[in-house]
């Protein structure tokens, strides 16, 4: 079996509001799967359903073959979870937090101790293991929460906005750990707002908006599919008339970016020829010219706006 998570027709309402609207997708084993969406799109509701915190109103989901409604204890036993909000016990020490979670996962004491030592050393918290979490910074708490999620050596790790508003060092440490875990075979399900993070980490990405999946693919394929967002960035040796550039065939939109001009085009190679012709005919010298693939952020905004317009 190469599938880690299957979701079919999953639905969740809060009163009249439909938070998750008949969504379906699969996560392959050993992949890092990104789940992106604007605020209120249904990301956290989906992750809460998959981690058995709330029950769906309709549809089914399995995690590592376990039906989350029929076998929640088995499903939770093989998961590691980093919820969106910081939730270590602030009146317990880092060590006691790990011991507690280890006991809740039924990890034998010897392994609990060994794993806790290893994990705390990995995230640079070993020296502070006896301190109450109350005195920890947000970054330290988040690193501890990641350790708590890994104490049972999960086969699948769910992370809900794991690096949100963290300092650069903590965010990098967490991202590095996610990559390392994935290398050793752990499947990762990640929600994030950070497009750069999703681009750097994820093998595949699903974009959710208004409770519906609007796209699922690799980051590269999502960019390719959004060919309408291709552009070239060009700078000349002197100022140019933007209206002239807008009249060039195959240029759809012109944007001035400082001393550069960004031209949204259908066919970059054709557009480059036209721009070169334009420069020659106006005695302009091209200083720089770059073809730009759409960023994941462009793709995300394009898809979510289309979805809002009902396209």
């Amino acid at each position: 079996m190469s599938i880690a998570v299957t979701v079919n027709n999953l639905t969740k309402h809060y009163g009249d509001i439909i938070a998750v609207d008949h969504i379906g997708f699969e996560v392959k084993k050993r992949e890092i799967f990104g789940f992106l969406g604007p605020n209120g799109a249904g990301k956290t509701t989906t992750i809460r359903i998959l981690t058995c915190i709330i029950k769906p109103d309709g549809g089914t989901a399995t995690v590592m073959g376990y039906n989350i409604e029929k076998e929640p204890l088995n499903a939770k036993q093989i998961m590691g979870i980093v919820p969106e909000m910081s939730n270590a016990y602030i009146d317990l020490s880092a060590w006691n937090n790990l011991m507690l979670i280890g006991e809740l996962y039924g990890v034998p004491k010897k392994q609990r101790v060994e794993r806790s030592e290893k994990l705390l050393k990995q995230v640079d918290l070993y020296e502070r293991r006896s301190q109450l979490v109350r005195g920890f910074s947000k970054g330290m708490k988040q690193r501890l929460i990641l350790c708590m999620a890994l104490i049972n050596e999960p086969t699948i790790l769910f992370l809900d906005e794991p690096t949100s508003s963290l300092d650069v060092e903590s965010a990098r440490l967490i991202k590095d750990m996610i990559r390392e875990l994935n290398k050793t075979g752990t499947t990762v399900f990640l929600t994030t707002h950070n497009m750069e993070e999703a681009d750097q980490l994820c093998d595949r990405i699903a974009i959710i908006n208004h409770g519906q999946i609007v796209a699922i693919d690799t980051p590269e394929n999502l960019r390719l599919k959004s060919s309408s967002l291709q552009s070239i960035e060009v700078s000349f040796d002197r100022a140019v008339n933007m209206d002239d550039l807008a009249r060039i065939s195959c240029v759809k939109q012109v944007k001035k970016l400082g001393d550069k001009v960004k031209l949204y085009v259908d066919e970059p190679s054709e557009a480059i020829d036209h721009v070169a012709d334009y420069a020659r005919s106006h005695n302009l010298r091209i200083i720089t010219l770059n073809t730009m693939a759409p960023s994941l952020e462009d793709v995300f905004l394009n898809l979510t706006r289309k979805n809002m317009r009902g396209e």
Binding site: Y14, I53, L73, K76, P83, Y89, D91, L100, G106
Partner: protein, 255 residues
């Protein structure tokens, strides 16, 4: 199949001990909680007995009744809203522990705390020469009543599904204080009017103070088996009720 279900049950019980340990570390081992558990029942009792010619022997049933009742129900109602507010409840719910095991762990913590605190008035009573005629009845009563009140304390946090501890504490006080006044703590049941006896019979604390009175003086309003049986029924009612109702209302906290 049966063996494997039993193994799962035992594993869950083991995990609920982790909840108990956590509760004791975080909520019960605080100085103010212990001091409150000891002093509050004593002061309440003194307020009702000073100026009246009441012997230590007569004081004891009420004192141990209130000590057991107030200590076993002191923190239990606030644990759930505290955990909901600090987002640790989500951490517990997504761990492989059943809802019943989480709340059983909370009940056990209240039970252990109540048992330890109730030892104090017992030791004081023995030290000042109160003679206990039926230690077995008293000990079984203390154990059963503490578990009963610990279950009640967790039941009190079921509704409303709020994350404000003071709201739950206020609502639980509205239930706890009237119970003390109708349970024969200050006036033995036999001295209550008929309507008072009927009202008193609805409170689990009535049966424990009656049992405590029997263990000291050898006389009681109900027989010992009736006291123990009714306490057992209340315990089961509160235990099953708290687990079932929490299973029903817990998801509302994450909506």
């Amino acid at each position: 199949m049966i063996l494997s279900s039993f193994a799962v049950f035992l594993e869950q019980i083991k995990r609920s001990f982790a909840i108990t340990k956590k509760d004791i570390r975080i909520y019960y081992s605080k100085g103010p909680v212990v001091v409150f558990g000891l002093i509050f029942p004593l002061f309440l009792l003194l307020a009702f007995t000073i100026g009246r010619n009441v012997s230590a022997k007569e004081l004891f049933p009420g004192l141990i009744g209130m000590a057991v009742f107030f200590t076993a129900t002191s923190v239990g109602p606030a644990i759930l809203p505290w955990e909901a507010r600090s987002k640790t409840l989500e951490r517990l719910v997504c761990s492989p522990i059943s809802v019943w095991a989480i709340f059983f762990g909370d009940i056990l913590a209240s039970f252990i705390f109540g048992m330890l605190i109730s030892l104090v008035p017992l030791i004081v009573a023995l030290a000042i020469g109160v003679e206990i005629m039926d230690l077995l009845a008293l000990v079984s009563g203390v154990i059963l009543a503490t578990f009963c009140f610990a279950s009640l304390s967790v039941l009190l946090s079921v509704y409303p599904p709020t994350d404000i501890p003071s709201t739950v504490m206020m609502l639980s006080s509205l239930i706890k204080f009237p119970l003390v006044f109708i349970s024969g703590v200050f006036v033995p049941i036999e001295q209550l009017p008929e309507w008072g006896r009927i009202v008193a019979s609805a409170s689990p604390l009535t049966y424990f103070t009656d049992l405590a009175r029997y263990s000291i003086s050898g006389t009681s309003f109900y027989s010992v088996p009736v006291d123990l049986a009714v306490l057992t029924v209340f315990t089961l009612l509160f235990l099953v009720g708290s687990v079932k109702l929490h299973e029903r209302f817990l998801p509302q906290r994450f909506s």
